[in-house]
Symmetry: C2
Subunit: 328 residues, 2 copies
């Protein structure tokens, strides 16, 4: 394993300390228990809180700030944060308007956020994100939450900043999640520091189609094909799920898993744009880059969200976080 680290046990702490120092104008870090919160909490709004295992940076800590999350709880690498983190984060940032937890659909995350929600003595609700269409809806634990999570966080974040109440934010989050579909492909595995070796192996001529953001087995291991064929595979699955009609406006997000160059991600964007342009779909907003990563996995995912005027205005609303910033 070749990584920049001192000890596996101290990697997360040292990294979070650096993150907090580099962005002290936006966020502050609480260490016991771990959570990142806005440097100036705004208590007269619904507090948006997310979290999950580390290793997906900038998700979620990089999305704390004006117009998006109020706090994020980082677990150990690929490990759910604990309820005490969520509870402490909520107590640090929430006011009378209550708390909306935005949770990716993984058993550990769901269980721990539900425990925190029960323990919390202010109004609260949970939005479950399950945008990964590589699994069937009937899958035993449901579909996974992947790169669409940031779109839910951004759009609901803008609504909360504008003063939307808890029920409105919850309904909006569910609506964005339902309008969003993602699917990914891996060329090479990530290496979890505590494990010290790749999570899975692929030969030089294979790819993992429908891979999860922790290296979970996808739909199938396939022979490595051309970028055009890969995009058609991913885009067909997303298109079958969302069934956009000609004339539909969408947001298209190409997400890198950590080790894929921007040059290749823009190539993927070009091919996905062609795929949907031929079907009469209009991409009104886009986001291309490494936002929901899988440590050092080579690969990418495509995410589409069906947009309307309301969602577009919320997407465009001012945003100031470590990883995304516009309008301020």
């Amino acid at each position: 394993m070749k990584k920049f680290l001192n000890q596996v046990d101290t990697l997360l702490d040292e990294s979070l300390n650096g993150f907090a120092k580099a962005h002290s104008d936006i966020i502050q870090l609480n260490s016991q228990p771990h959570f990142v919160q806005r440097v100036q909490p705004k208590r007269n709004k619904v507090a948006l809180i997310s979290g999950g295992g580390s290793g997906h940076e900038p998700l979620h800590t990089g999305f704390v700030g004006v117009g998006m999350l109020d706090a994020a709880c980082p677990g150990q690498v690929f490990t759910s944060p604990t309820p005490d983190q969520m509870l402490a984060a909520a107590q640090a940032v929430a006011g009378d308007a209550g708390v909306l937890f935005i949770v990716k659909n993984y058993a550990g995350d769901v269980m721990n956020f539900e425990i925190a929600a029960e323990m919390l003595d202010c109004p609260n609700m949970i939005v479950l994100v399950n945008d990964d269409v590589s699994l069937p809806k009937s899958h035993s634990t449901g579909r996974r939450g992947v790169a669409g999570t940031l779109i839910v966080e951004k759009i609901v974040g803008a609504a909360a900043e504008n003063g939307a109440d808890l029920a409105t934010c919850k309904a909006l989050g569910d609506r964005v999640n339902a309008a969003t579909a993602s699917m990914g492909v891996a060329l090479n595995s990530c290496t979890v520091p505590a494990l010290g070796k790749p999570t899975f192996t692929l030969s030089d001529t294979e790819m993992e189609m429908g891979v999860g953001i922790h290296g979970e087995h996808g739909r199938e291991t396939l022979p490595l094909s051309s970028a055009t064929e890969i995009v058609e595979h991913l885009a067909n699955a997303i298109d079958a799920e969302l069934q956009p009609k000609a004339g539909q406006t969408v947001l298209l997000h190409i997400n890198g898993f950590g080790a894929t160059p921007l040059m290749e991600l823009y190539l993927i964007y070009e091919l996905a744009e062609q795929f949907w342009q031929q079907r009469g779909i209009t991409i009104v907003r886009s986001l291309v880059g490494n936002y929901t990563t899988s440590i050092d996995m080579a690969g990418c995912s495509i995410t589409m969200t069906l947009m309307d005027e309301e969602l577009l205005a919320l997407w465009d609303a001012p945003l100031h976080t470590a990883a995304l910033r516009w309008g301020c």
Copy 2:
């Protein structure tokens, strides 16, 4: 070689097309010859133009926009752009105030930008960036231009946007370059698509200290050490070059080479911050992420710029490019 591509020959074109579509609000692409320019050229200012081999994205195309570059000329991967690209870009964006070319110090880039400068029939000057302290100043072709380039481009870009004249922009660029030092380390080689195999090889227990952004051999191949020791090695070289005194304010930029997770880059930031904090240096601005990449190399570089009030105000000035955005 495992990459997302159709054919090696079409990768750059397809990627640039995707980049142009994803950022059509900021930039437009000219195809014959290749250059990227602001969608709305502002002709009553000094035009800032940069360029170089592709494979370092987002450098330079990702830095075209309000407050930074007016145009960028992408060459083939790790290959200088040609003088006709630079000339066409200059003719597309320049007005009476003239052109400032910002050029990383590589023989091919320097030769081609000098040819373009001679052919151009409006006032023009060149700022040569050579911030890589891994090589001695006496090196036969001089020191390489690396991640400090974006700091020169940002600061001079703000001055040009404010109406500074050509001589002022040139002097400012030279001053920022002289106040900037960088050094990098690789854990693994990049793979150039046309080559199809890694540029160099390192064993599982080796690292390349002082590596160039094309995988050039550095100061020495060393046994892989702890992150703290790596940071001390890089920071000592930078510190010896710039010799910041206690009380000096600086900008600290941790740059990833493409395949290094953000979690590790923030760990590097933390350790570098500690290194200089112990010496009484104050980091007033920071930038952590993959900005001057080497395709899919695993590794990072540290860049420091000695700041003053003028440079700080220019760094903070509004900026709207594909890769960096603040204040608008």
